[in-house]
Assembly symmetry: D2
Homo-oligomer: 92 residues x 4
């Protein structure tokens, strides 16, 4: 079962995104209920930090799966150029 | 109707959060459908950027409403200390 | 000596910036000596994090000094509008 | 001259870092001269953004040079694991 690790990443990503969806809904409710802005602001920061973990997980699974697979099948060049472009956009 | 501007910010925040909730759900669907990681990654970056606009709007409405009101009623010191703490955490 | 705290912030900022200047020079030397990119990258991240602390300190001293002083002298409105603009740019 | 591109990246990095060093020194001078915090804050943001371009350039040259070379010489696995770790730290 070599796919085990992949499906682990997938299910971890899905459960994180479910939680984030709940956080976003919670933030909207706070605004509807006129909660104190600073408390809302802190929840938005928490949601952003949760999205950062999703980015990290996605990048990890991309490099460990797609990039390695592309290299093994002789398409390393393309996938590395693509990774470079994504990283460059991200750091700007 | 001095509350007009406030309710503008509120309804803008709510519609942004609704859109972000949709983005998060879309990202989860992309993962469930095994979409290409790089495409998912770019959507996560877009959601983070949308959350940044929410932070900016919240901060604007906090300073323009709560901070000014607190100052007018003689509680400026407390609300500015609180703002300092929030900013310090945010920049770290 | 009510200025003590102010000059503390100032000297702390100056010594942090001296250290950051040294970090930047160290990074340039690493590049001149063809050091391994990943090691250089990590040093750049450290310098950015040090600059974040400078931002935090500056914001703290701005709110605690300038904003409070402006409010006391009746120019609160302007200085808070300015703070809002800075924050909005920063979160975008 | 296959090294042309490499030395281009190197000289671009060095001139950027020289400029950043100047920015940092300018910021320190602003603080020594008690310049207005908001103006200093904006210069710090500019220096951070310049450091982000350095990160982007470093990452590009790392992927285009080191990662590709490591793959060609059969050490792809290690260098990709390392890249994953760096990215994960960065996004957290």
């Amino acid at each position: 079962m070599p796919d085990n690790k992949i499906s682990n990443a997938k299910s971890s990503l899905i459960s994180r995104l479910n939680r984030i969806e709940g956080q976003i809904r919670g933030i909207r409710n706070m605004i509807e209920d006129d909660k104190y802005c600073v408390d809302v602001f802190i929840q938005v920061a928490a949601a952003k930090s949760a999205l950062n973990s999703v980015s990290a997980l996605l990048m990890e699974s991309h490099i460990k799966r797609c990039v390695k697979k592309a290299i093994d099948s002789g398409h390393g060049e393309e996938v590395l150029d693509e990774l470079t472009e994504v990283m460059k956009k991200y750091f700007k």
